[in-house]
Structures are given as structure tokens and as C-alpha cells.
């Protein structure tokens, strides 16, 4: 079976989907945020979202600057709070499509509690959480996702903390759609973001994106190539991960320890806040 999609060309997409006056971007060389924006817009185009009816919401940090580059309604809010604002927008006008850009610090550090409850409530939002293992905008300090032992200006002797697996958290909380991809693979993230947008309820797409400038240079990942190589070496597809965990040799299982699972972790149906609220209003409305 083949599907024919009439998609815009990249040049057309640039004209229609980007806010021209915001360019050039603030992003550093080798930063993965341009890829994330690219994949998101292709997904938006694939799903056929009407940009006039779509709001992009973000918090604070490099990834949260992405909203400014999209030619749609956008709300660049306070640090960690994007999901609260997005919740208000979606709850007040369920007809709008709401897409959230956030980072690992913004979304799982200062905004962790909002993440937890927005998933529990199952707000119909698509959250694209960009994980670069660091607080990039303030100069690369240690984040909740920074690997143990990694170096930063606030962990000059190595990070002693355990990193958070945001997707595992989202999965445990019952998010209908959860996926993680590195920016080094383009087609899977586009597909996942498109699936996330189409999903009724909360969807989380964690994008692993390099920050060569603030994180990379202190952790042997200066430049683009070593970063993309790191993704190749340190990620494993979820199916393969589970296979090795179950049937792998002790050596194979040991090798999993410093790898991050990637892929689609959860794709289920669950009634959203909006659906339930609408039903409640139908029941009690005067």
C-alpha cells in the first residue's frame, strides 16, 4: 500500500511556517534545536494543522525560544510553567491545537510538578521536550537529566546525582503517547510528533538534541559529529533493549547500562480532560 502526501517543499514551508522577522536564530553552531523545529514543522504539515488555529507555548530556556520562530500564535511564558499556560489555553478553547516546546530543565526540573499533573489530568497537548542534558542558556550548568559523572560549571568535579528518565516518568503516569528520539534520525521524530499531534490526550516526544557549546565542550562532545556519534553509541531501540534485558548474555545486558532507550514507549487511548469536562458540562448545563 502506498500513500501519496502532497507536502510543501522545504522552501515553501519556510515561507509559510516561519516568522521571518525573527531570523537569524539565537542558536549556537551544532545546536539541535534547528532540527527539532524542522521536524516539528514537517509533522505539522503532514497532519495538516491549520496554523491559524494552533498555539505554540513554551517556558524559558534555549528550546523555549522555538515558539518565536513559528508563524503562529505563540506564548513564551515563565520558567517551567509552559504547561500551566497551555492547560489554560486548551481548557478555555478546546478547538485550538496546542503544542508545547520545553527543555529538560524547564520541563522536568523547575516544571516537573506541572509535567506530572498535566499528564495525570491528560490534557490534550503535544509536548516536545528537548533534552540536551544541560541548562544551556545560563551557560551549561548541571540539569536533572545530566548523566552521573558529567561535568558542568556547577559540577566541576563531576555530577554525583542520578539523571531523570522523563519518558519513563511519563509512561508511568499514563501518558497516551510517549516517544524519544535523537535529532540524528529525522524521519522517526517527524512521525512521532505527527502521531502525538493526532493523539487525543497528552503526548510527549522527548528529543535528544546536542548542546556542543555549553554541555559538549566540557564532556568531550565539541562539534556536531561527536554528538551524533554519541547518540549512535549510547541509544538503543526500545524493542532491542527489552530483548537484551530478557534474553541477552550478561555482557550484552551490562552494555545496556550506559544506553538510553529510544523509540515509541507508549501509544494507548485514554479519555482526556477536555472530553470528560465536555461530558460533565453536557450533564449539568442549564
Amino acid at each position: 500500500m502506498s500513500t501519496t502526501l502532497t507536502l510543501k517543499t522545504a522552501a515553501e514551508l519556510r515561507t509559510t511556517h516561519l516568522r521571518q522577522e525573527m531570523f537569524p536564530t539565537i542558536f549556537c553552531d551544532g545546536c539541535g534545536l534547528g532540527n527539532v523545529l524542522n521536524y516539528t514543522l514537517w509533522a505539522v504539515e503532514q497532519v495538516g494543522l491549520d496554523l491559524d488555529r494552533t498555539v505554540f507555548v513554551s517556558g524559558i530556556g534555549c528550546s523555549s525560544r522555538l515558539t518565536g520562530y513559528v508563524n503562529a500564535d505563540g506564548m513564551h511564558t515563565t520558567h517551567g510553567r509552559a504547561l500551566s499556560f497551555a492547560t489554560g489555553i486548551k481548557a478555555a478553547n478546546p478547538d485550538l491545537n496546542v503544542i508545547v516546546f520545553t527543555g529538560d530543565g524547564d520541563g522536568s526540573g523547575i516544571g516537573g510538578n506541572h509535567l506530572l499533573h498535566t499528564i495525570r489530568r491528560n490534557m490534550d497537548l503535544t509536548v516536545i521536550l528537548v533534552n540536551n542534558f544541560t541548562y544551556g542558556m545560563t551557560g551549561g550548568q548541571s540539569a536533572p537529566t545530566s548523566p552521573t559523572g558529567s561535568f558542568s560549571p556547577t559540577t566541576p568535579y563531576g555530577n554525583v546525582e542520578h539523571p531523570l528518565d522523563i519518558c519513563e516518568l511519563a509512561q508511568a503516569l499514563g501518558a497516551p503517547y510517549v516517544a524519544r528520539w535523537p535529532v540524528s534520525v529525522p524521519s522517526q521524530p517527524i512521525k512521532s510528533i505527527a502521531q502525538g499531534i493526532s493523539k487525543r490526550g497528552f503526548s510527549l516526544i522527548e528529543m535528544m538534541a546536542p548542546c556542543p557549546t555549553a554541555y559538549g565542550r566540557r564532556n568531550g562532545l565539541r562539534g556536531i559529529e561527536p554528538n551524533w556519534q554519541w547518540y549512535r553509541d549510547h541509544t538503543v531501540l526500545v524493542d532491542e533493549y527489552e530483548r537484551v534485558e530478557q534474553f541477552g548474555s550478561p555482557e550484552e545486558r551490562a552494555a545496556l547500562r550506559d544506553k538510553m532507550k529510544i523509540g515509541v514507549f507508549q501509544d494507548i487511548e485514554r479519555e482526556s480532560f477536555g472530553d470528560r469536562w465536555a461530558a460533565l458540562v453536557d450533564r449539568v448545563k442549564l
Binding site: 498555539v55 506564548m75 511564558t77 500551566s84 489555553i89 485550538l96 506530572l116 499533573h117 448545563k285 442549564l286
Partner: protein
């Protein structure tokens, strides 16, 4: 099919009711056309949320209980950008948590109403006791240069009426408006008469009329930009960063920051005639004045009569609008009186702007009371008597 206004009447129930101040705030919001409420339970403000959760779905609106007060104010600001009227309600600890997003509401010019049913602090303090300890936090709690509108009713009836006014001001000036009562007034029940629609004036934010040349933060004479809700095709970008008229971040230009922040202040300060509300008793025949607000002003009203019966020419200036502070009004009183008594349910907050406005023209005496009890008439009378002996 009944109209929306008719359904509001149906949802609110009897025209005359015996309700709490918290209920009255909720009723005022509904009458003002509020269709979105986000909040978090906190004593003594919880009943506002309870009433909203009961009424809003009946009217097809939305009530959502958020995970904390930070999220509550975030949600109402987000909702406001879809073009609806929004409110949250809290008490001191929650109001502390709201400070950052309050500043976001100010710089993004988002209409919203925040009710604070004050209790004693600092910190968790006395949750069930009334206080007015957040008056200065209202003014300067959020960081950076800004103006704020704060209204303080003195009765259950006025709590409802001023909540409607708060919505109108939020819409007209496109800014967060605060309405503060206290645990005492919030939980006190008294007679409430729900006004007819003919007695209510409502103001809706001015909408953008044409996309041609539209800039979301460009202003005319009113200094208030025209509003285009999310989803209307205007593709507005809203940011808490310093921005130009188009709404795009311009964070390194002193001139753009200066222009924006001064305009945000001027849109309020240039309209104090409309915003400043007060009530005067014996203004023209007064030797010793009380300047009071909130529930305290209510006791003062009787005390003034009592004092006059004892031969003290007492008067009362009841401040309804606290911020922007009615400096000229207080200065006018200071010209005429021997002394001003400032009873406050805190250790002296509005006392300071009063002294600033008085500028030494008369004596100003603070009668601070904390711990949750109201000023007794005797305490106020004794203070008035003492002040009436003050040399001019």
C-alpha cells in the same frame, strides 16, 4: 432557550441571599462574565473556588483545579489569551507563589482578576484568621518596575460589586487586577442583593478590528493595545521578555525597554480618575481623620459617629482603591485636619504611602493590630481622643 444572562440568574439563585464574602466574589465574577477559573484550595479562600466549580459548568464555562497557585495563575493567563474573562482566588501563601506570573500578566497585558482572601503571615501563619498583611506585597511582590490595581471592599455586598469592577478594569486596562479581602470578611455571612443587569455596567477588552498593519502591542491614545485572541488568525507572539510593538523580543535596547515599561505604568497612572475609588465622611468638617480600608473601615464608620457624639470632630476617608495610591486625595485631607489615624490589620503598610502623601502637613498615627482580631471601637475611640488633643 434562555439567554446567557438569564442562565446566570438561574445559576446564582435567589436575588437576596445570606452568604459569605468568598461567595460574593464568585457571584461578582459570574455576573461580570467570567467563564474560566483555575485555582488551588487554600484557607480562607477555598469557598471562592467551591462556588466557581459549582456554577461554571452550569453555564458551559470551565473550572480547573491546578496543582498549585503558580499553575493556577498560569492557566488563567493562558485562558485569557483565548479571549475569555478569567479569575483565580487564593490567600497569602498562594499569592506569594503567584508573584512571578503576576509580573508576566503585567508585561503581556493580560486581563485577569486575582482574589486574595488574606490571612496572617509570615509563612503559614494563622490560616483561619483575617489580616491585611499582603498590601505591600500586592504593590511590590513581583520583581521589576510596574503598576498594579488593588481594590479593597468592606462588606459582602461590596465584595461582589467590586469584583465586577475589578473585571471591568482588567478588561479596560488589559492588566491583572487584584481584589483583597481578609479571612474575616471572606467567611462572614451577611445579606447580599444580586443586582439586576440594568444596574451592572460591563466592559469587554477592545478587540483588534483589522489585520492590516496590526501590531499586537501598538497603542493609541488609551495606551492600551487592541486584543486579538489566540486562534483568530492574527498569529500573535506573546513573551515576558521586553518586546517591541510587534511583540517580538528586544532585550538589549534601553529605549525599547524604557518605552514599554513606562507605557505600562502610564496606562494605569494616566487613568487614576477612573481607577481611584473612595468614600468620605465628614470631609469638610473634620479635625481628626481616620484613613482606613477593608473590614477595618467598617468599624471606623460607627466609631466616627460615636466620636462626634463625644464632641470630637472625626471624619473618615475609606480607601477602596489602594493601588494606584490616591496620593492627592490623602494630601487634600492632610491640609484640613489636625491628625490622621491609620488603623491597619498589619504592622503598618499603607501607613507608609499615607505619610508620604501627607508630607508632614499633619500628624499621622498608626494603630497596628495583628493576631487576627479586628480593631475594637474602644481602641479606635481612645486613639481618636488622644489625637484630638494633638497640637495643630
Amino acid at each position: 432557550m434562555s439567554t446567557y444572562r438569564e442562565r446566570i440568574r438561574q445559576a446564582l439563585g435567589a436575588k437576596v441571599q445570606f452568604v459569605q464574602g468568598d461567595d460574593a466574589c464568585a457571584y461578582g465574577a459570574i455576573l461580570a462574565g467570567c467563564t474560566f477559573f483555575a485555582g488551588y484550595p487554600i484557607t480562607p479562600a477555598t469557598e471562592v473556588a467551591e462556588r466557581m466549580s459549582e456554577i461554571l459548568p452550569k453555564l458551559g464555562g470551565c473550572y480547573i483545579q491546578m496543582e498549585d497557585e503558580i499553575a493556577s495563575i498560569g492557566a488563567i493567563i493562558g485562558a485569557s489569551w483565548t479571549g475569555v474573562k478569567v479569575m483565580t482566588a487564593t490567600s497569602g501563601p498562594g499569592f506569594s507563589l503567584m508573584q512571578e506570573n503576576l509580573g508576566y500578566g503585567i508585561i503581556t497585558e493580560t486581563p485577569c482578576v486575582i482574589i486574595n482572601v488574606q490571612r496572617s503571615g509570615p509563612s503559614t501563619g494563622q490560616p483561619t484568621m483575617g489580616a491585611y498583611g499582603d498590601m505591600m506585597q500586592a504593590r511590590w511582590g513581583t520583581h521589576g518596575d510596574h503598576e498594579i490595581i488593588l481594590l479593597c471592599p468592606s462588606s459582602v455586598q461590596e465584595a461582589m460589586e467590586l469584583t465586577i469592577v475589578a473585571f471591568n478594569m482588567a478588561e479596560q486596562y488589559r492588566t491583572p487586577v487584584l481584589l483583597f479581602i481578609d479571612g474575616e470578611l471572606g467567611h462572614m455571612r451577611e445579606r447580599l442583593v444580586i443586582p439586576d443587569d440594568s444596574e451592572i455596567t460591563l466592559f469587554d477588552r477592545v478587540r483588534a478590528e483589522s489585520m492590516e498593519g496590526y501590531k499586537p502591542f501598538q497603542v493609541g491614545e488609551s495606551l492600551v493595545p487592541a486584543f486579538a485572541p489566540f486562534g483568530s488568525g492574527y498569529r500573535t507572539y506573546v513573551t515576558g521578555l521586553t518586546h517591541n510593538e510587534q511583540g517580538l523580543p528586544r532585550t538589549s535596547s534601553p529605549a525599547i525597554h524604557d518605552k514599554l515599561v513606562r507605557r505600562l505604568a502610564a496606562k494605569i497612572n494616566d487613568h487614576t480618575d477612573d481607577i481611584v475609588r473612595y468614600e468620605e465622611f465628614y470631609a469638610d468638617d473634620c479635625d481628626v481623620a481616620i484613613v482606613a480600608y477593608g473590614i477595618t473601615a467598617r468599624t471606623c464608620r460607627d466609631v466616627v459617629e460615636e466620636a462626634r457624639g463625644r464632641g470630637i470632630k472625626a471624619g473618615l476617608l475609606r480607601l477602596i482603591t489602594i493601588w494606584p495610591f490616591p496620593e492627592a486625595l490623602v494630601a487634600r485631607w492632610a491640609e484640613r485636619v489636625r491628625a490622621i489615624l491609620v488603623p491597619e490589620m498589619n504592622m503598618g503598610q499603607i501607613y507608609h504611602p499615607i505619610r508620604e502623601a501627607v508630607e508632614g502637613r499633619c500628624a499621622v498615627r498608626l494603630l497596628a493590630k495583628i493576631g487576627g482580631e479586628l480593631h475594637t471601637p474602644t481602641e479606635l475611640l481612645d486613639a481618636l481622643e488622644e489625637l484630638s488633643c494633638q497640637p495643630r
